[in-house]
């Protein structure tokens, strides 16, 4: 039976005060229905991130989590960090 490879965003988390969106993408190798291996790739999206290249599901979560208040708070936080 042939091996197949697929990727899936198997964990999308909204974390912290500023609602960073953490995305875990799993690459799954399978023989039929048996999983042979699973490896992970991670990336993080801050509230000022360009999300045009993200999946529709990630975009929807970002748009729901990143209210204007969150974006403003994040911008203020960055400005504060800049001053330190």
């Amino acid at each position: 039976m042939a091996l197949t490879e697929r990727t899936e965003e198997d964990k999308i988390e909204v974390v912290g005060t500023f609602k960073h969106v953490q995305v875990r993408t799993a690459t799954v190798i399978e023989r039929g229905s048996n999983e042979i291996s699973r490896t992970y790739h991670r990336h993080v999206l801050a509230p000022d991130a360009d999300i045009t290249g993200q999946s529709a599901e990630v975009q929807a979560i970002c748009n729901a989590a990143w209210t204007q208040a969150v974006k403003d708070a994040w911008a203020a936080h960055l400005a504060e960090q800049e001053e330190k």
Binding site: T17, H20, Y40, H41, H43, L45, H77, Q81
Partner: protein, 176 residues
């Protein structure tokens, strides 16, 4: 008289939790308490993986090679260890601040800035710079900051890059 029950695996009805006593792997989705039963004693996550890093400068751009943008991480509880070597393929007048993206958001302590420990060693840097760089991680950050060190005060590191510059990275930090 003692008795003995020999089993290979103990598993719940759904197969979600399992304890392999012989060969094989045990599964504890909720984590394991070690040394106590409080939340501070709960080891609830372990993960190995990769992150495709990007370098962002205040102005200009730094582009990494396709094979030279991978950072490798291991997360145990809230501690993330990251290693890898970033390789620059090309630049376009980079200057100013310099950040490197992270696989997880940093935590936000009640006092002080987020902490990071480790080393970043640049090689083949742009002329006029040395290879001394300090790393800093802010609170709730998705990228760490690089600064030129080796002088009285830290300075923005955006202009250290040129084609073929490498950054050997090895650092740890806490997640959100």
């Amino acid at each position: 008289m003692s008795s003995k029950l020999i089993v290979d695996t103990i598993e719940d009805a759904t197969g979600t939790y399992s304890l392999a006593l012989g060969s094989g792997n045990s599964t504890f989705p909720g984590g394991i308490h070690i040394g106590g039963t409080g939340s501070a004693n709960l080891l609830d996550d372990y993960e190995e993986g990769e992150h495709t890093a990007t370098i962002t400068t205040g102005s200009g751009t730094v582009t990494l090679t396709s094979g030279g943008s991978t950072l490798y991480y291991t997360k145990v509880g809230r501690l993330v260890s990251v290693v890898g070597t970033l390789r620059v393929s090309s630049v376009s007048s980079p200057s100013g601040t310099c950040t490197v993206s992270l696989p997880f958001t940093s935590f936000s302590p009640s006092t002080g800035e987020g902490q990071v420990g480790g080393f970043v060693t640049p090689n083949l840097v742009n002329s006029g710079n040395n290879n001394e760089v300090a790393i800093e991680l802010g609170e709730s950050a998705s990228s760490l900051n690089l600064y030129k060190s080796g002088t009285a005060s830290l300075a923005d590191a955006g202009n250290i890059f040129q084609a073929n510059t490498t950054l050997r990275m090895n650092f740890c930090y806490f997640t959100a």
